[in-house]
């Protein structure tokens, strides 16, 4: 691969608040194609309407989406990114079970994380102009959700924790769509 490097100068202020605010989730088979503009997803085309499910976790500074680079060893040319998103929902009830079970049942999820920086990053997809629809799922490991339904003890809070894991060859793409546009899909 050609090495064309991009300069970065951090002397200007940027919004660097960590964490995520909320997310939209769908099954990858609901997406028929994506449109890419200068490397970012500028549109999703879906097989029906209202297929993005909005998940708004508790605002307790735990929601996040991290991509950690891995090489088999420091000299290896292979690299992939372990992608992990997390959300926390207080409570323990049938209503939370009805959220958790379908998420666990989906084998290939796509999650749009609305980060606290204001950026929207897409887990579970890799841009691939040569693939049908212009995308594939995460190339090294499909995005799946593992729920934990915890009563914990009386000293703590009962909760549903959702962890979304996938493994990419490159870091996740961003989308220029706004939350309003995603909700209109």
């Amino acid at each position: 691969m050609a090495c064309t490097l991009v300069a970065l100068d951090t002397s200007t202020c940027v919004n660097a608040n960590g964490g995520a605010e909320y997310a939209y989730v769908t099954d990858i088979t609901n997406i028929t194609s994506i449109t890419v503009t200068t490397g970012q997803i500028s549109a999703f085309t879906m097989s029906s309407t209202d297929l993005w499910t909005k998940l708004v976790p508790n605002k307790n500074q735990t929601a996040r989406y991290d991509q950690t680079g891995n090489r088999p060893n420091e000299f290896s040319t292979k690299i992939d990114y372990a992608c992990e998103g997390f959300m926390y929902f207080a409570g323990n009830s049938n209503a939370l079970k009805l959220v958790a079970d379908p998420l666990a049942a989906c084998c290939r999820l796509v999650v749009i994380w609305v980060l606290n920086t204001g950026a929207l990053v897409v887990q579970g997809i890799e841009i691939d102009a040569g693939a049908t629809g212009g995308f594939t799922g995460s190339k090294e490991g499909d995005c799946r959700c593992t729920p934990n339904m915890l009563s914990d003890t009386s000293a703590n809070e009962a909760r549903l924790e959702l962890t979304f894991n996938s493994r990419n060859r490159v870091t996740s793409p961003y989308t220029t769509l706004t939350p309003a546009a995603i909700e209109a899909l």
């Binding site: 028929t32 549109a43 309407t49 899909l185």
Partner: protein, 98 residues
């Protein structure tokens, strides 16, 4: 005159395709396969309801084409007329990004 249309080859692969057009203040949902009625299931928001999703008009197709949507092609009207007359795809078709 330039006219935009949804690529029939795209619709062969995807019998239903919905996207949003962002050329006005409010995002507009459109059905690339043509106007249709969608039934939203009952949920926390209330009982089931049917909504009509319109097909994109020419201005919206043009916006989607310029945004690079792979399903939209533009065609010179004379070529389109030729296709109607002969059933054969003529020159003058162009996909987004070409």
């Amino acid at each position: 005159m330039t006219k935009y249309m949804v690529d029939p080859e795209y619709l062969k692969k995807h019998h239903a395709a919905f996207t949003v057009v962002l050329n006005s203040a409010k995002p507009k949902r459109v059905a690339l396969h043509g106007e249709c009625t969608v039934t939203k299931p009952a949920g926390a928001g209330g009982p089931p309801q049917s909504i009509v999703v319109p097909a994109p008009n020419n201005a919206e197709l043009e916006w989607l084409f310029k945004a690079g949507h792979e399903a939209i092609i533009h065609v010179q009207e004379t070529d389109e007329q030729q296709e109607i007359n002969t059933g054969a795809k003529k020159g003058g078709w162009k996909k987004a990004g070409e």
